[in-house]
């Protein structure tokens, strides 16, 4: 081991490195200006990719907070009465330990009469478990209860947006809402969590009533959809839940056409978009790094010309081509890597400052170690690539001409 270090030390690699540092330091302003191209390129690369990643992780965490333990099953045709009945669903929960609770949502477009004016609302028939599965929160009043659903009470829970924009005020618990041919008493107002992806996707004018009211009274709106929500009991994974749902439906309800979804579909789609975005932005930043590399090649060519005499001296006292090549190659690589280091540090600073500003929005920008490694590697490659031509030019100089250069 000691012999190995000895060999490295005496092979002149350390010396080449020291000479490179010395040369860079002897021309600080020029070295800094040369580095600037690399610094800006690295900042662009690291900051842009970290911004995309930071944004993505904040969105995905919102999505998974919404329903990372829930699957939903959509039906192509009408749902058999059997599936939508509370008794059947209770039996499923009994037989499948991975099921925590189950709720149907039968949603249809209806018109409500508010202040003698008709307005469109989304009327959803749900069970009392629906609110728990969907992670809903209350603004005031209460959710639908088990008793509401068993007795088919003519009560409803509405969204914050519905209360605010259709009724005109939040404090509407106890008021009566006329939807279609029936009157419902408002018992609760939901807290619209605008961070949630569901709130973004939904139209927002929702009214929730006990499920069986719709089927008992054969209410049929303009468009309708039927969805079954099931969430997983603690300790069961999404895959186990999905497998159980699939087995259940394949065995007991062969004729029903259905499709099982979970939130990961949205996460996957979002992941695809953002990874494409990362690559595109990264490529643009990469171009600016390349431009920085050209700047380095330019200045290295000047340096080689300026130091022609020195190269002549070194050759006269026994420096081989390889030694000269290595010396100048080291210089360009060291410039690139120092620039890269400064760039990474500046990026870290920018991201920290940026995170302070966006902290109130719950978005934090962390520096991705992967992109740091990519940046360092890329800078290293650029240093070699753009240093090679000037270094080779120096190495190939004729010692006599070099010694007599400029007198």
């Amino acid at each position: 081991m000691i012999r190995f270090f000895d060999a490295v030390f005496n092979s002149g690699v350390v010396q080449s490195f020291r000479m490179a540092i010395k040369s860079i330091l002897s021309n600080k302003m020029r070295s800094f200006l040369t580095m600037l191209g690399i610094i800006i390129g690295v900042i662009a690369l690291v900051v842009l990719v970290s911004l995309v990643n930071g944004g993505t992780s904040s969105i995905t965490s919102t999505i998974s907070a919404l329903g990372n333990n829930m699957v939903y099953i959509q039906f192509t045709d009408d749902v058999p009465k059997e599936i939508s009945s509370k008794e059947t669903q209770d039996k499923w929960i009994e037989n499948n330990p991975s099921f925590k609770s189950v709720s149907m949502e039968y949603a249809l477009l209806e018109r409500a009469l508010i202040d003698n004016e008709y307005t469109g609302v989304m009327l959803s028939g749900v069970s009392n478990d629906y609110f728990d599965i969907m992670g809903k929160e209350l603004m005031m009043g209460r959710f639908l209860t088990n008793a509401d659903c068993e007795n088919n009470s003519m009560v409803c829970v509405i969204t914050e947006k519905m209360a605010k924009e259709k009724i005109g005020y939040y404090d509407c618990v106890g008021e009566v809402l006329t939807i279609g041919d029936f009157d419902y008493t408002i018992v609760g107002v939901l807290d619209d969590n605008f961070n949630s992806i569901e709130a973004m996707m939904n139209w927002g004018y929702n009214v929730y009533i006990p499920y069986e009211i719709i089927s008992e009274n054969s209410i049929s709106g303009y468009t309708s959809s039927c969805t079954l929500y099931i969430n997983a009991r603690d300790g069961y994974t999404m895959d186990e839940l999905k497998a159980d749902v699939d087995t259940l439906f394949k065995r007991d309800y062969k004729d029903v056409e259905y499709e099982i979804y979970d939130i990961s579909y949205i996460e996957d789609a979002l992941g695809n978009i953002t990874s494409v975005l990362s690559v595109v932005l990264g490529a643009i930043a990469g171009i600016s790094l390349l431009v920085g590399g050209i700047g380095i090649m330019n200045i290295m060519l000047v340096t080689v010309t300026e130091r022609t005499r020195e190269i002549g001296i070194r050759k006269a006292i026994g420096a081989s081509r390889g030694v000269i090549l290595r010396q100048f190659l080291f210089e360009s690589v060291v410039i690139c890597l120092i620039g890269c280091g400064i760039g990474i540090f500046a990026s870290w600073f920018l991201l920290k400052t940026g995170s302070l500003i966006t902290a109130s929005l719950g978005v934090e920008f962390a520096m991705d170690p992967t992109i740091v490694i990519i940046a360092v590697t890329f800078c290293f490659v650029i240093g070699i690539l753009f240093g090679l031509y000037p270094a080779n030019k120096a190495a190939k100089m004729n010692p006599i001409d070099a010694l007599h250069y400029g007198g």
């Binding site: 005496n10 092979s11 006269a316 006292i317 026994g318 010694l403």
Partner: protein, 224 residues
């Protein structure tokens, strides 16, 4: 030591061929102090380049210390320069951003010598030229005579077979020149082989043997 036989070197200046060295045959023996004297344009610089393995002859044989040089590649020549030859130039040719010590150490680094050995050798070389107090200075902080001493120290630090000096006193006043010549004489008395190229008859006269070169041909003048 040095065995030049029918060395010819022809340059092409525009359309015209200039014969810088015309069938030069010359021998330098181990331990000799030879000076080569000639006016400018006589071919003495070319001779020095050929002897110093910086340039290759177009024709003729050159054997340095038993090595036939004409078959060597560029990298091999660099190695020969490093191990066999110590250069001293008219304009000193020190590297300006390196200290005296680092300049002297450089040829040893190129040889791949261990650090402890390098330190020892540099110390010896510095003592030989009497610059012990200046080792951490930059060349620009030294006088011309001191700079030339650094160059001599750099030349002898590798313990070369041959010290090749090209107008070593050309940029120095007569008093300093004398000191430098004395150093060469001392080195010669210690067994070093020296070839000194100059246009100054007084300097040339200090050597044990003087070789005159004119129009690419040489003639021996005196043996002292």
């Amino acid at each position: 030591m040095i065995d030049l036989k029918d060395i010819t070197r022809v340059y092409l200046v525009g359309e015209e061929e200039v014969c810088a060295l015309d069938h030069v045959t010359m021998h330098v023996y181990k331990g000799e102090f030879v000076s080569v004297i000639g006016p400018s344009g006589s071919g003495k610089s070319t001779l020095m380049n050929v002897i110093g393995c910086l340039d290759k002859a177009d024709a003729g044989d050159y054997v340095l210390d038993g090595i036939p040089i004409e078959y060597y590649t560029e990298n091999k020549l660099a190695e020969v320069r490093n191990r066999k030859i110590g250069f001293v130039f008219q304009n000193f040719n020190l590297i300006s951003n390196m200290t005296v010590e680092e300049n002297i150490e450089l040829p040893l680094i190129y040889r791949g010598m261990k650090r402890s050995e390098r330190v020892k050798r540099v110390k010896e070389a510095v003592e030989a030229v009497g610059l012990q107090t200046r080792v951490h200075h930059l060349p620009t902080e030294l006088s011309g005579g001191q700079q030339q001493r650094v160059a001599i120290a750099r030349a002898i630090v590798t313990n070369p077979s041959l010290i090749l000096a090209d107008e070593p006193t050309g940029n120095l006043d007569s008093h300093t020149s004398k000191d430098i010549i004395e150093i060469f004489k001392k080195l010669n008395s210690l067994g070093n082989t020296i070839v000194l190229i100059t246009h100054d008859p007084d300097v040339a006269a200090e050597a044990k043997r003087v070789v005159r070169i004119k129009d690419g041909k040489i003639s021996e003048v005196a043996r002292q």
